[in-house]
């Protein structure tokens, strides 16, 4: 294996992506689903109080989107730094 690639730059880009995703991950579950649930319950999403919806439904959908977004964005970073698999 070669070490010609920019290992530091690659790792920085990776950590940047992880931080962004973890912030969203935290906001939807611990934020909207727990800490601010009472506040959000004043808003209704159909028959759902919004805070309750985040805790019982919404955060799960957003988790799925986050993982697929991560997979795609990570693939882009891999190619940009030329460390992707063949």
């Amino acid at each position: 294996m070669q070490h010609s690639h920019d290992a530091q730059g690659y790792w920085k880009a990776t950590l940047g992506l992880l931080t962004k995703i973890l912030i969203v991950w935290f906001m939807v579950s611990f934020g909207a689903g727990i800490l601010f649930a009472d506040l959000l319950n004043g808003i209704k999403l159909g028959g759902y109080p919004l805070g309750f919806w985040f805790a019982h439904q919404g955060s799960i959908y957003i988790f799925i989107a986050l993982i697929f977004y991560y997979g795609k964005a990570m693939g882009d970073i891999d190619r940009e730094f030329d460390v992707h698999e063949d």
Partner: protein, 601 residues
């Protein structure tokens, strides 16, 4: 055809399918035995991971727990799914790149220490063995409830089935049976939910039905449920939290990192062909898990509504819940209630002798509900409902046809068997690969190691079956312990191994032991040393939940924090890891150069 015959047919057909797959997918090499030859498609692996992950508890008990807890039950939903985000980004792709068969092997190699690997083996075995006891009891319970055989016979049959496909097929056989088991269990979960959602709201999607209005009214289902349960003295469904907000926060965090650190889940990602596949496979796993986890809260709320509606006619008419004629007459209660009373999961006692069933919260702190109940001459709650009823009796409560009830039986068994098989795989690979080959007989041939793996698996089946037949008194508390151990020891160690180039063996080992110790200390203080009754030492630590009111089940995240803190402190005062280890970490971080997983030490 009567219910019993239909159930035998459906369950028998599903077992025949699993055995057929086992014969087709025999493992001939260690690579096939430990990692299914590293050739599993990411979507297939996602399905297998979902079946691996969703246990008898997810299938049978979770909706009932949520029904009882209301909003607070969301901690299971968020905790057990949010962990996959962590797993997908922080662990799975890097461990796949590392390219070895087991989790302890990564810890041993990364921290250049046999002792570190042995600590990891001990954590893995404790977590997996405690977890599997629950699965084996689950198999027994599912058999006895659905097939009218004793729970013991159920465990024997379950052992025989798992033996057939796990011992001969290894990871390869387990993977393909888990795919089939996933399809059976998800169909079994969703079909009754769709019927019930249509009946209550007219919307066929339970996820949307839960947010819809009740059929024939303009009142939202959740608002109606809130009104009914609050009037009967229970907590408001959509806002009741689990303990304090802080406890719910920490509990959710513990389940998330525990999920990401469970070895039998992590090792599923060794079976995919590339790093990119490991990333996407985690996404697919969560899609398949979410199908059940987003349906569960709908099942919970709708079944709770149905249950109240069955025993109190005013729920449907909107009349006075406390009027005498609202509570149904005991003689006229539906047949399914009588059937489940026989199993002890449902109990009715006519405390005030009026021949009617009053179902309410008699320990309520709501003065209005208390006054109404007293005025109506109610002398205490007369119906006790086991949480499992919510899923098990759901099709009967909603008057669904026999084949649906039979399918639920097959689904419950599929959930228990698939998780048991995954755990057995984690146990046998830790024993044959990390202990036999790694520590005791480094020169063992591949054929010898394969045989050792199969023997270890067979022994693990017998031991777990024995523990399922004679559950130690602590069986109920064990799943929480498994999560606590995974969260406080394995997850931080693996994560630091990848994300901190300078973390050394002293730091990692001190961290793992400290995290494990503090978690066990807190759990044992509440539940007894090794769960032995009478050895609790709560007064020593200042009463129950002394640490900011956090319950022992929720403590794993605190253990993980301790692990990280101790590891970095020790790392600071001991010497750096050798140069080649730092290079290894750099290589693990990039996808290029990934190869098939293998067993070389």
């Amino acid at each position: 055809m009567d219910l019993q015959t239909t159930t035998y047919l459906v369950v028998g057909a599903s077992f025949a399918l699993y055995i057929g797959i086992a014969i087709w997918a025999r493992a001939g090499s260690t690579s096939e035995f430990y990692a299914a030859g590293g050739a599993v498609h990411p979507v297939m692996n996602g399905m297998a991971t979902a079946a691996d992950w969703m246990s008898a508890a997810s299938f049978i008990s979770m909706a009932g727990l949520i029904a009882n807890m209301g909003y607070g039950g969301g901690l299971f939903l968020m905790g057990w799914t949010g962990g996959y985000v962590l797993l997908a980004m922080l662990l799975a792709p890097y461990l796949r790149k590392f390219g070895k068969f087991t989790v302890p092997q990564f810890i041993g190699d990364r921290f250049y220490s046999k002792s570190a690997s042995t600590v990891a083996v001990v954590c893995l075995l404790t977590a997996s063995l405690t977890y599997i006891i629950g699965q084996m009891t689950g198999v027994g319970v599912a058999f006895s409830r659905f097939l009218n055989v004793s729970s013991d016979t159920g465990i024997y049959i379950g052992q025989a089935i798992v033996f057939l496909y796990a011992v001969f097929g290894g990871m390869k056989g387990i993977t393909y049976t888990q795919v089939a088991q996933y399809i059976v269990l998800i169909a079994a979960y969703i079909i009754p939910a769709v019927f019930i959602s249509i009946a209550l709201t007219g919307n066929p999607l339970p996820q949307l039905g839960l947010g819809s209005t009740m059929s024939g009214t303009d009142m939202a289902l959740l608002a109606k449920l809130d009104t009914v349960v609050t009037e009967l003295g229970f907590g408001k469904y959509t806002t009741t939290t689990a303990g304090s907000t802080l406890n719910m926060f920490v509990y959710t965090m513990s389940l998330m990192i525990g999920t990401a650190g469970l070895p039998h889940v992590i090792m599923r990602f060794f079976t995919v062909p590339s790093v990119a596949a490991a990333r996407s496979s985690a996404g697919w796993a969560l899609v398949f898990i979410a199908l059940l986890y987003t349906t569960a809260p709908a099942v919970a709320a709708m079944a709770k509504m149905n249950l109240h509606g069955t025993v109190n006619t005013a729920v449907k008419t909107g009349g006075d819940l406390y009027a005498e004629e609202s509570s149904i007459k005991a003689d006229e209660r539906p047949d399914w209630m009588k059937r489940w009373e026989k199993t002890g999961l449902l109990k009715f006692t006519d405390k005030n002798g009026d021949g009617r069933i009053q179902y309410y919260n008699d320990a309520t702190k709501n003065p209005e509900a208390k006054a109404k109940a007293e005025a109506a001459g109610w002398k205490g709650n007369e119906l006790t409902v086991n949480a499992d009823i919510i899923v098990l009796a759901n099709p009967e409560i909603a008057l669904l046809p026999n084949w649906v009830i039979a399918l639920v039986a097959a689904g419950g068994l599929a959930a228990a068997l698939s998780t048991a098989a995954g755990l057995l795989m984690a146990i046998s690979s830790a024993v044959s690969h990390d202990l036999v080959k790694g520590v005791f007989m480094p020169d063992i041939s591949e054929k010898g190691e394969l045989m050792a793996g199969k023997i270890a698996m067979a022994v693990a089946i017998v031991v777990s079956g024995y523990l399922g037949l004679n559950p130690p008194g602590f069986a109920a508390g064990t799943v929480a312990l498994a999560f606590g151990i995974a969260a406080s020891s394995l997850f931080p160690a693996i994560m630091m191994g990848i994300f901190s180039k300078k973390m050394n063996k002293e730091g990692a080992m001190a961290g793992m032991l400290a995290g494990l110790f503090i978690t066990l200390f807190y759990v044992f203080a509440h539940k007894g040393i090794f769960f032995i009754k009478g050895t609790e030492f709560l007064n020593l630590i200042g009463g129950a939940n002394p640490f900011f009111g956090i319950t022992p089940e929720a403590f794993g995240a605190i253990g993980a924090l301790v692990n990280f803190a101790v590891a970095f402190a020790v790392d600071k005062v001991t010497k750096e890891p050798p140069e080649h280890i730092q290079h290894m970490v750099e290589a693990v971080r990039i996808p290029r150069g990934s190869k098939m997983v293998d067993g070389a030490h």
